[in-house]
Symmetry: C2
Subunit: 229 residues, 2 copies
DNA sequence: CTTAAATTTAAACACGCGTTTAATATTGGT
DNA sequence: ACCAATATTAAACGCGTGTTTAAATTTAAG
C-alpha cells in the first residue's frame, strides 16, 4: 500500500518468456499441471478449486489447462486416472486371487492400511463420491465398489457355508458393516481426531486395525453366544 | 420460441405487487425463505445452492435474503439452527439420563433410527462436516460429536468395568467402531444402495439395526473366545 | 392528514469463474 | 533458409454469483 498506489493491478512477472520455450527438458508444463491438480483437487474437491489456482500452483496460466486438457474437468479426469491407477491394480490383484483369500481379517487389514497410507482416498470419497454431485461417483460405483463388494460378499458367503460364520448372518449387512468399519474412521478423521483424541499415527493405526479385525471377527463368528434378544 | 422473438428476457410476472403488502397473514416471506433454504441447502450443500435458486423456490427475490438475513450465509445459519434444534434436544435428553443407560445396543438403535428417519442428517454431515471447508464442522464437533462421544465412551467404560465387555477393549476404538457402524451406512447410501442391492426401506432398516446391534455386542463382549491372533 | 417505518420489486453492481483468442517466439523437418 | 507445427503469454469474453440500491407502495403512528 506504499509505492504502487496508482497501479491498477500488480502482477508478478512471469518467469517464462513469450512464445515456444527452448527445449529446457525438465520444464514440463503438462505434468506440472497434473501434479498441482492432484494436490489441490484431491484435497479440496473439484468445485472448490479454481483453474487459476491450479495454474498458479503449476507456475503457468489457465490457458495451458485449455491447451493440454481442454477444460478444467478434462484436467480433473486425467489427474484422477493417474491417481487411482495403483488402487485399480490393487483391486485387480485381490480379484485374481479371490479363490485363495478366506479370512475377512486379511481384507480388513488391506483396506485400512491402504486408506491410512493414502489420506487422499478418504478425501476423494467425501468430495467426489458421497457428495450429491460427485464427479467420481459413477466411476467409483462401477470400477471400485462394484467390484470389491461382490468379492467381499462371496468371501463371507463361503465362510458362512464353511461354518466359521453365523448361519443367520446377512452377507449384505455384514459387507456393509465391514466397509463401515474400514472406511469411516478415515472419512471422519477431522471429527474423530479431536473428539476421540486420536492421533492417526502409524502405531495407533496398527492398533485400530487389530481392534477392528477382532471386533468384526468376534461379531460374526458362529462361536459367540447370543446375550439376549 | 414462437412469439417472444425480440424480448430479451422472458420473466414470469411476480404474484406480489410492489411495496409493503397488506397484512395478509399467511404470506410469510421470512419463513418461506427458511423452508426453501432447508430443502435446498440440506440436500445439496451450501455452495451448490445459489441465492437466486432459494429466492425462486420461496417465490421472492434474492434481495429478501439480504433484507431478512443479511447474507446467504446468514440464511444458512438461521436455517441450520432451526433444523438441528430437535437433534440438540435429543442429545440433551440422552445426556441427562446418562447414568441410566447401560446397553450400547440402545444407543445404536437410537442413532440409526434417527439417521434413517431424517435422511438430511447424513447429507448434511457429508456436505458440511466431513468436507474440508464444511461450515458446520466446528459447531458439529463442539455441540454434537463433542457431547455424544464422551457419553459413548463413558458408557463403554462402565460396561467394561462391570465385566460385560472385554477387559482389553480400547474404549476410544470401540466408540469409533460404534459410530462407524451407525453412521456410515447412511452416509454411503448412494453407493451401498446400488452396490449391495439395499432398498433402505423401513423393514430392511430394522433388520440392519438388529444386525448392527448384535454385531457390535458380540464383537465387544467378554464372553467371546478369540479365534486366533 | 401527515409522515415515518416497513416491505417488496426491478435493476444494477463488482467480482470471480471457466474459457477463448490473438499474438508471439521457438522448434524441427525439408 | 524457409515454413509449418508447437508452446506460451497476456488479455479479454460472457456468464453467473452474492450483494446492494433506488424506487415504490402499504401500514401504522402522531
Amino acid at each position: 500500500m506504499s509505492s504502487s498506489a496508482q497501479l491498477p493491478r500488480r502482477r508478478r512477472p512471469r518467469l517464462r518468456s513469450r512464445g515456444r520455450p527452448p527445449v529446457d527438458a525438465d520444464s514440463d508444463v503438462r505434468s506440472a499441471l497434473l501434479d498441482a491438480a492432484s494436490r489441490l483437487f484431491l484435497k479440496h474437491g473439484f468445485e472448490r478449486v479454481t483453474a487459476r489456482q491450479i495454474a498458479v500452483a503449476a507456475d503457468t496460466t489457465p490457458a495451458m489447462i485449455h491447451y493440454y486438457f481442454g477444460t478444467k474437468l478434462g484436467l480433473f479426469r486425467a489427474m484422477l486416472e493417474r491417481a487411482i491407477a495403483p488402487v485399480r491394480e490393487l483391486i485387480a490383484g485381490s480379484l485374481s486371487q479371490a479363490g485363495a483369500v478366506v479370512d475377512p481379517a486379511v481384507l480388513i487389514r488391506m483396506h485400512m492400511r491402504t486408506a491410512a497410507a493414502n489420506p487422499w482416498i478418504a478425501t476423494l470419497i467425501v468430495n467426489e463420491v458421497l457428495a450429491e454431485k460427485g464427479r467420481f461417483r459413477a466411476t467409483f460405483i462401477r470400477d471400485v465398489a462394484g467390484r470389491q463388494a461382490p468379492l467381499v460378499m462371496e468371501l463371507l458367503q463361503r465362510a458362512r457355508a464353511g461354518g466359521s460364520l453365523r448361519k443367520d448372518l446377512d452377507v449384505r449387512f455384514a459387507a456393509l458393516s465391514l466397509m463401515s468399519l474400514c472406511i469411516f474412521p478415515f472419512v471422519a478423521r477431522a471429527v474423530a481426531g479431536p473428539v476421540l483424541g486420536l492421533k492417526y499415527d502409524e502405531e495407533e493405526m496398527e492398533r485400530l486395525i487389530a481392534h477392528t479385525a477382532r471386533l468384526f471377527a468376534a461379531g460374526t463368528t458362529a462361536a459367540s453366544r447370543e446375550h439376549h434378544a
